[in-house]
């Protein structure tokens, strides 16, 4: 059965993010890192908005190749905006938002 959203945005598609937009990369559970299928507002977005959008898309099955997860919960996750930095070799040429578990351990 084809999910409607999947049909519109195949997992292999890669849109171009504008200078005021960002790709959102979510690291959720082990071996579960994925991008939201389309860019989000970066310059005028907030951490709370990015987190809410990502969580909503996870809960509604809006992420191609990823099953709907009604219990998806990003409330305790860190949200880090990473501005584009094309001036350095290896620097990103697009804005990015990283959503990931909090990391405070080093052992």
């Amino acid at each position: 059965m084809t999910n409607e959203v999947t049909a519109i945005v195949p997992a292999t598609a890669r849109l171009v993010a504008g200078p005021d937009e960002a790709w959102v990369t979510v690291t959720y559970k082990e071996a579960d890192t994925f991008d939201l299928p389309r860019p989000v507002p970066f310059t005028h977005g907030t951490k709370e908005q990015w987190r809410a959008w990502a969580q909503e898309m996870m809960r509604t099955g809006g992420i191609p190749g990823r099953p709907m997860d009604l219990n998806a919960d990003l409330s305790n996750f860190s949200v880090e905006p990473v501005p584009r930095d094309p001036t350095h070799p290896g620097g990103l040429d697009f804005n990015r938002v990283l959503i990931r578990p909090k990391t405070d351990y080093g052992c």
Binding site: T27, T33, N76, V82, H88, L92, T103, D104, G106, C107
Partner: protein, 193 residues
């Protein structure tokens, strides 16, 4: 060059092992002692049981590769941080708690000492290898919590340690600073300078 590695548990001990051929003197700082369970999750062997981790690691590095470490079996505090870190050219933070990280961060920022932080989440799903200018301390959980228990996450912690060592070597050789987000299935180069 003097590299100070603060915390030589699951991350720090692996980092030191991977830096065995770096052109620098390595100082290791940790107050803790090796317990039997540590040998499952850290670069510590059974002969080190009961010894201070810095002493056990120093013996192991010397025995395996003839590498001499500067050993400081102390708990890093705001009272001794200057004594322990003031002559370091690079600090590598592999601590397991936010208060100690804060002491390190305050010192390196006040004294413009390059500092690389290694941090992982409690479930072994995500790690960060970040240079200090981009590193925000995230105070959750309890010190020394279950990340290291029973060696469950040893392979992943070793991967994170490898990125710390790689970033360190890039800095030592070329003054480049790479910051990474690491997961068991992917790595993102987050910042480069």
């Amino acid at each position: 060059m003097l590299i100070a590695v603060v915390g030589v548990g699951a991350l720090g001990a692996q980092v030191v092992a991977l830096l065995r051929n770096v052109r620098a003197t390595i100082r290791v700082i940790d107050f803790d002692r090796v317990e039997a369970k540590n040998t499952e999750s850290q670069f510590h062997g059974r002969p080190g049981n009961g010894k201070p981790k810095v002493v056990a690691l120093g013996s192991l590095m010397d025995f395996l590769w003839g590498v001499k470490l500067q050993q400081r079996p102390h708990r890093l505090t705001s009272d001794n941080v200057r004594e322990l870190l003031s002559d370091a050219n690079l600090v590598i933070d592999c601590l397991d708690n936010a208060p100690s990280r804060t002491i390190v961060q305050n010192f390196v920022r006040a004294n413009s000492v390059p500092c690389l932080h290694g941090a992982v989440d409690a479930n072994g799903t995500c790690g960060r290898v970040y240079w200090d200018e981009r590193f925000e301390i995230e105070p959750v959980g309890a010190p020394g919590a279950a990340t290291c228990e029973n060696g469950e996450h040893l392979p992943f912690l070793t991967v994170v340690a490898a990125y710390i060592a790689h970033s360190t070597k890039e800095f030592v050789a070329k003054q480049r600073r790479f910051s990474y987000q690491v997961t068991p299935t992917s790595t993102i180069l987050v910042y480069a300078s």
